[in-house]
């Protein structure tokens, strides 16, 4: 994942490995700085359970991050975009809760949106409505309508959760992209979660929709707060 971020243009100074308590593998963070400190955070976990190859859950989501970082780098950005590959989601959102715990109140308040990708690419793009922020849902609907890319709302919160929860619990507006239906849910945590489960055309559409969505968010979301470009970047509390 680190290599993918580097290949996508995330230079050494903007690439950070965050050691996580009780995890053997760190969170991987790529920061694409914008004109302000206002942050749009994009996250996906890169661990998987032993059953299957974890292609759908969640290398499709994790490997989307470098490509989205490339798209964001092409923008004349108002916001700073932080892409985080979270470790140990399958053990109980370990990486994301640790990440949030390391943010001070000011850093947390600067995150205007957290966009989470988990288990995309098994079918057309779905987004969770029940846990999604209303404003983000409306904006995504606008983008899907404009781009004519497929999008349906599908709630999976009764069967599982993902890293967005760590941010939502702190009041950050969140949105979860996935591709789960009654049929594709059967792939997860099983040997069937392999390359054959990947629907490349749907995955490509998810990427195109997400790329347009991030560009749209950068233009339409208010920055919080508006600070000079000389201000320090979003910070993590250091031990």
């Amino acid at each position: 994942m680190k290599t993918c971020f580097s290949d996508a243009g995330c230079s050494a100074g903007d690439l950070e490995l965050q050691p996580v308590k009780h995890a053997n593998v760190p969170n991987i963070i790529c920061t694409v700085r914008g004109a302000t400190e206002s942050v749009i955070l994009v996250g996906a976990h890169f661990d998987h359970v032993a059953h299957g190859l974890g292609v759908i859950d969640n290398w499709t989501g994790a490997s989307l991050l470098p490509s989205l970082a490339e798209t964001v780098r092409s923008l004349n950005r108002r916001h700073t975009f932080v892409f985080v590959g979270f470790t140990d989601e399958e053990r109980g959102l370990v990486g994301s809760y640790f990440y949030v715990s390391q943010l001070d109140g000011e850093a947390l308040s600067r995150i205007v949106a957290m966009i989470n990708f988990d288990s995309v690419g098994a079918g057309p793009t779905e987004v969770e409505h029940s846990t999604g922020d209303a404003n983000l849902l409306q904006k995504l609907g606008n983008v899907a309508g404009s781009t004519k890319l497929p999008l349906t709302f599908m709630d999976a919160d009764q069967v599982g959760t993902s890293d967005f929860l760590a941010f939502r619990s702190k009041g950050v507006p969140t949105l979860l992209f996935h591709s789960l239906t009654q049929e594709t849910l059967k792939l997860l945590h099983r040997s069937a979660d392999n390359y054959q489960a990947l629907k490349m055309d749907d995955y490509r559409d998810t990427y195109r929709l997400a790329a347009a969505f991030l560009a749209y968010l950068d233009v339409t979301l208010d920055v919080r707060p508006r600070l000079g470009s000389d201000s320090p970047p979003p910070t993590l509390k250091r031990p």
Binding site: V25, W59, T60, S63, T71, S74, E90, Q138, G145, R204
Partner: protein, 70 residues
């Protein structure tokens, strides 16, 4: 996806119509990663992660077993 209730599978299908009002047109200019690069990333990444992920899972199960014995 951190699945809590694999045996009690139920997804509430929520079809919510998009808002009737149209958003103001916002000109967007951005670049997309080439499809072959997108495909290469998803395939290369999952190949590399498979072994490590399995090992991590095994280690986790190992720790649980150790705790169980103590």
């Amino acid at each position: 996806m951190d699945i809590r209730f694999m045996t009690a599978v139920w997804i509430a299908l929520a079809w919510v119509p998009f808002p009737a009002q149209q958003a103001k047109p916002v000109p967007l200019r951005y670049e997309l990663t080439a499809p072959d690069v997108l495909a290469a990333r998803v395939r290369a990444a999952s190949m590399k992660n498979a072994d490590r992920g399995a090992k991590l899972e095994d280690m986790f199960l190992g720790r649980r077993m150790l705790r169980g014995r103590s």
